[in-house]
C-alpha cells in the first residue's frame, strides 16, 4: 500500500535561517507531488506541484523553493526564512485517481 512520510512534525526556526522540509512517498511510482501551506485557522494554499523529476511549478511567488531529486521525494526549501513563512506545511501526492493523499504536516514557527 502507498504511504507518505513528512518530517519533521514541528520546527522552530529563527528569521533568516534556512529551511528544508522533506516528503517521501512509498508504494507508488511517478506520483504527482504537492506542497501546501495552511495559515492558522485558514484554508490551504497550493505552493508547488510536480508531475515528474525536476518538473516543478510554482503557484505563488514567495520566499520558498521546491525540488524533486528523486521520483518519490519532494523537498521544500528556503535560504532565509521570514516571519510570514510560519504555518502548517502539508505534502501530498496523487496518482491516477483524482484525490490527494496528505502527509501528517509540519508546523513551522519562525521567530
Amino acid at each position: 500500500s502507498q504511504t507518505i512520510h513528512q518530517w519533521p512534525a514541528t520546527l522552530v526556526q529563527p528569521v533568516g535561517s534556512p529551511l528544508s522540509l522533506e516528503c517521501t512517498v512509498e508504494g507508488t511510482s511517478n506520483p504527482n507531488l504537492y506542497w501546501y501551506r495552511q495559515a492558522a485557522g485558514r484554508g490551504l494554499q497550493l505552493l508547488f506541484y510536480s508531475i515528474g523529476i525536476d518538473q516543478i511549478s510554482s503557484e505563488v511567488p514567495q520566499n520558498l523553493s521546491a525540488s524533486r531529486p528523486q521520483d518519490r521525494q519532494f523537498i521544500l526549501s528556503s535560504k532565509k526564512l521570514l516571519l510570514s513563512d510560519s504555518g502548517f506545511y502539508l505534502c501530498a501526492w496523487s496518482g491516477t485517481a483524482e484525490k490527494l493523499f496528505f502527509g501528517s504536516g509540519t508546523q513551522l514557527s519562525v521567530l
Binding site: 504527482n32 510536480s50 508531475i51 502539508l90
Partner: protein
C-alpha cells in the same frame, strides 16, 4: 481564483443531529471533493463528486452538487463526537497533467456529546 468558500465557518451541534456544510466556487470544474482535517493533522479525502453528478452518498455522508449555482453541500447524518473536525471542499484545475486541488477556507464542526 478557483478557491472555494465554505459556509458556515463554524458549526456546533449536538451528537445525533445532522450537520450541513456548504461550498461555493467560482469557475467551471471537473469534479469537487470534500476533505476532513483533524486539528494539527493532514487532510483525509472523504468523497468526490463529478460535474455530471448531482448527488452522491458514502456511509453517513451525502454530497450534492449544483453546477448552475456553482455550489455543493456536505451533509453528515446522525453526527458523532468523532466527527468533530474541519471540513474543506476542493475543486480541480487541470494543469499540465497535475490534478491541482484548490481548497476553500473550511468549516469547523464541533459535535457536542
Amino acid at each position: 481564483s478557483q478557491q472555494g468558500e465554505e459556509d458556515p465557518q463554524a458549526l456546533s451541534i449536538q451528537e445525533g443531529e445532522n450537520a450541513t456544510m456548504n461550498c461555493s466556487y467560482k469557475t467551471s470544474i471537473n469534479n469537487l471533493q470534500w476533505y476532513r482535517q483533524n486539528s494539527g493533522r493532514g487532510l483525509v479525502h472523504l468523497i468526490l463528486i463529478r460535474s455530471n453528478e448531482r448527488e452522491k452518498h458514502s456511509g453517513r455522508l451525502r454530497v450534492t452538487l449544483d453546477t448552475s449555482k456553482k455550489s455543493s453541500s456536505l451533509l453528515i447524518t446522525a453526527s458523532r463526537a468523532a466527527d468533530t473536525a474541519s471540513y474543506f471542499c476542493a475543486t480541480v484545475a487541470y494543469k499540465t497533467g497535475a490534478n491541482n486541488l484548490f481548497f476553500g477556507t473550511g468549516t469547523r464542526l464541533t459535535v457536542i456529546p
